[in-house]
């Protein structure tokens, strides 16, 4: 049979197409026992010149007559006869969600092949599915060649193996070059293994040298070594494996990474704080509409020193004039307001509200070192930053610090990109940067997203080589506008219906994927979705263990020193601290 001859012979057929369509999924009659196929399995079927790729989204038991299913005929009939009866009257249909199709042309060597080749000189590429295979087209599990065709070769330097197919263990790769071109998300309930998954992907980005990463590490998980929350086994951090390529930055003095000292401390100079930064905190600080005018006036009066000067002013201070009349003291808020032409009450109110910021230990008049510049320069050089918030773990700190840093980054990368586009100077193309936001719903929920520039980054900054990687357990809490911008989504199991809907928003076939997402095995299985992958695929994720590191860093990766790692990674001239 022609179809069988043309079929990839890696795997034998497990069934054949009996019905269905693009909307309702294809119905495939199984010819193997149902337990040999599971939801999420990656299927291939050849029909005519086309090869179709899809996923198992459902398995349903059926019978030619309900009574054959109802009655236990094995009790009445001899076993051989009962087996024959069951084989002919009871069956399993699987639903195959077709996702891609590829024109393979006639069989090489056949009469029509050369004509087809002339019309299609380039190698075939999969396209979104637009038609259906014919009745009785044989269906088989995807083999290694199919997986490589769609998800790339593990040996390609841009590809990072994220795991294997569940049924047959074929490697599934993520194209990291593509991954960093748009914002991405890693989701999963607590205990689903998303932190390990994030560590692995970050390790891949660092090892493959695809992008700089700035990690806002809310729980000190990524930089230093730690212990698993489940079995207390030691878990390697990025710092211990990548040495000086990963910089640990602590917010404020005294912030430590477990037993490790930070590479530097981030103290923010008051002069780095702009009125724009403060306005983005309007909601957190409960600012009034008049604040923008007051802040403008402050900046006009004192320029970069506006915050320090404003906070030095005394609110409500009065002195007696020559006539004994009480007037605002020269160093008072009211005196400045009168001079600057703003409403004294508005200025005093703003001054009072900014006291909350003024008391943060990390916001200082004259920092010992310029932490912000340190971070930006390290990222520009291709290094990676893990920022720990230490004891500063409330929303205001998260908002202010992440805003300040990301604004700085945005300005720098925009300028860098514009310069590159102007000059097209070889070697000056901006380094891709991935901003990693753990517990993203704290910064990107509906209320706060408008106060941060993360939604701007997700929406616009990919043109400037900056994208987000958000890690969260409640994707439904994340602002829709941010979610809609996510290119690649890697998700572990999710139980909540709203979270599942959020992760699947904007994707084709989400109805079929919904059930699959709810039944992913925690710590074992993840679903790859979205722009970064040609089609959704269920993956048994790699283990984050010593073997992973040996594979990532090579056989000698275990226990090697920083210089060795740098040499292996190609950073010969690294300025190791």
């Amino acid at each position: 049979m022609e179809l069988e001859n043309k079929a990839n012979t890696g795997n034998k057929p497990i069934g054949y197409v009996v019905g269905g369509g693009l909307e309702a999924n294809l119905q495939v009659r199984l010819t193997v026992p149902a337990h040999q196929v599971q939801e999420g399995a990656f299927l291939v079927t050849d029909s005519g010149n086309w090869r179709f790729y899809g996923l198992v989204t459902d398995l349903q038991l059926g019978s030619t007559n309900a009574r054959f299913a109802d009655e236990q005929s094995e009790d009445r009939l001899p076993q051989p006869l009962a087996n024959l009866l069951h084989g002919q009257t009871l069956f399993t249909n699987l639903a195959m969600m077709p996702a891609l199709m590829m024109d393979r042309g006639p069989e090489p060597g056949s009469p029509g092949y050369m004509a087809w080749r002339e019309l299609h000189p380039d190698s075939a590429a999969p396209i979104p599915v637009k038609t259906v295979p014919s009745h009785h087209a044989p269906v088989r599990l995807a083999d290694a060649e199919d997986i490589t065709e769609l998800f790339g070769d593990e040996n390609d330097p841009n590809n990072f193996r994220i795991g294997e197919t569940r049924e047959q263990g074929h490697p599934v790769c993520l194209d990291l070059e593509k991954f960093v071109k748009r914002s991405a998300g890693i989701f999963g309930t607590t205990g689903s293994g998303k932190s390990f998954l994030a560590r692995m992907i970050l390790a891949g980005l660092i090892q493959k040298n695809q992008a700089s990463t700035l990690i806002f590490d809310m729980h000190n998980e990524y930089g230093p070594d730690s212990a698993s929350s489940d079995d207390k086994k030691p878990v390697s951090g990025l710092k211990s494996k990548f040495g000086s390529k990963v910089r640990l930055v602590g917010l404020g003095r005294g912030t430590r990474f477990g037993d490790l000292n930070p590479d530097t401390t981030l103290e923010i100079a008051q002069t780095d704080l702009t009125p724009e930064d403060v306005l983005q905190l309007s909601q957190a600080l409960n600012l009034k509409e008049t604040s923008a005018t007051t802040l403008d006036a402050l900046y006009n009066s004192f320029h970069e020193a506006w915050f320090g000067e404003f906070m030095k002013m005394r609110a409500g201070a009065v002195v007696e004039d020559d006539e004994g009349k009480k007037v605002p003291a020269p160093d008072s808020v009211e005196a400045w307001a009168a001079d600057a032409g703003v409403h004294p009450g508005a200025a005093a109110g703003l001054r009072s509200k900014l006291e909350r910021i003024n008391h943060r230990d990390y916001l200082v008049e004259a920092p010992a070192s310029n932490g912000l510049r340190y971070i930006v320069e390290a990222l520009k050089k291709g290094e990676h930053i893990v920022l720990s918030f230490g004891k500063f773990d409330n929303d205001l700190d998260y908002l202010m610090v992440t805003n300040l840093i990301t604004r700085k980054i945005r300005d720098t990368w925009e300028e860098w990109t514009n310069a590159y586009h102007r000059d097209r100077k070889p070697g000056n193309e901006p380094r891709p940067l991935v901003v990693v936001v753990e517990e993203a719903h704290k910064l990107l929920n509906r209320e706060m997203a408008s106060q941060t520039i993360f939604s701007t980054i997700a929406r616009e900054m990919r043109k400037y080589y900056v994208t987000l990687l958000i890690i969260d357990q409640r994707p439904s809490q994340i602002y829709d506008e941010v979610m809609s911008q996510l290119g690649t989504r890697v998700t572990g199991s999710l139980g909540d219906e709203d979270d599942i809907n959020a992760v699947l928003s904007g994707l084709a076939g989400r109805q079929a994927l919904r059930g699959m997402l709810a039944k992913l095995q925690p710590k074992e299985e993840v679903l790859l979705l979205g722009w970064g992958v040609l089609m959704p695929i269920l993956v048994r994720s790699r283990r984050y263990d010593s073997r992973f590191w040996q594979e990532v860093l090579g056989e000698n990766g275990k226990g090697k020193n920083v210089d060795d790692i740098n040499r292996i990674l190609g950073y010969q001239d690294d300025d190791t601290d």
């Binding site: 030619t64 007559n65 009574r67 054959f68 005929s73 009445r76 009939l77 001899p78 051989p80 006869l81 024959l84 009866l85 084989g87 002919q88 009257t89």
Partner: protein, 203 residues
């Protein structure tokens, strides 16, 4: 394919149409034919019609009626009536195929046999050859029967054919036949259940 073998004459044709024919025989000739047996009629010109015995009928006559109502009948009278009666035993045969120029076909013959053609019982080799041909196409003739106990006919026929095939070393024929029957009847639960219950007794 050679269906020539031992020829056991079991009667002569009384009447026929394309799908069915009836042969008559004497009671003493009844020792060999059985319900479900494969038999054939040679029409000459390399044409043989095959059929399955679906029914064997012994009709009454006036003498039997009188004897039945008698009080006591000597055994020699009973034997004489059985073996020397004027009315023949009727053997009803369902046409299931034919052989032409040595090729077996599981569809109806171009013409029925003629009266007084001789009905022969097929031997095991002929039974194996006929039933192994094709993919059980002759089942459709059996399953089309309306006024006969199909289940019983199938059990008798499949039992004989199974024995012949297994004697020839083919153990796969019977499961394949059952599978085909199930496929053909799976939309008719009542009939299939009845057939399978009957077949279960063969085990």
């Amino acid at each position: 394919m050679n269906l020539e073998g031992q020829k056991i004459a079991i009667g002569k044709l009384l009447r026929a149409d394309n799908s069915h024919f009836v042969a008559g025989c004497r009671v003493r000739e009844l020792e060999t034919p059985a319900l479900g047996s494969l038999c054939k009629v040679d029409l000459g010109e390399n044409l043989e019609v095959y059929g399955l015995i679906t029914n064997i009928i012994i009709n009454d006559d006036g003498l039997v009626r009188q004897m039945v109502s008698g009080v006591s009948i000597p055994s020699e009278y009973t034997a004489d009536n059985r073996y020397n009666r004027n009315l023949p035993v009727e053997i009803h045969v369902l046409t299931v195929g034919y052989q032409s120029e040595g090729a077996i076909h599981h569809y109806l013959p171009p013409r029925p046999p003629l009266s007084l053609d001789v009905l022969y019982l097929c031997d095991d080799a002929q039974l194996v050859d006929f039933t192994a041909h094709g993919r059980f196409g002759y089942f459709r003739h059996i399953l089309r029967m309306m006024d006969s106990p199909v289940e019983e006919l199938l059990v008798c026929h499949l039992g004989q054919a199974r024995a012949a095939h297994e004697a020839a070393g083919d153990t796969a024929w019977y499961p394949a036949a059952c599978k085909e029957l199930i496929t053909l009847l799976r939309d008719d639960y009542v009939k299939l259940a009845s057939v399978l219950n009957a077949l279960a007794e063969l085990e």
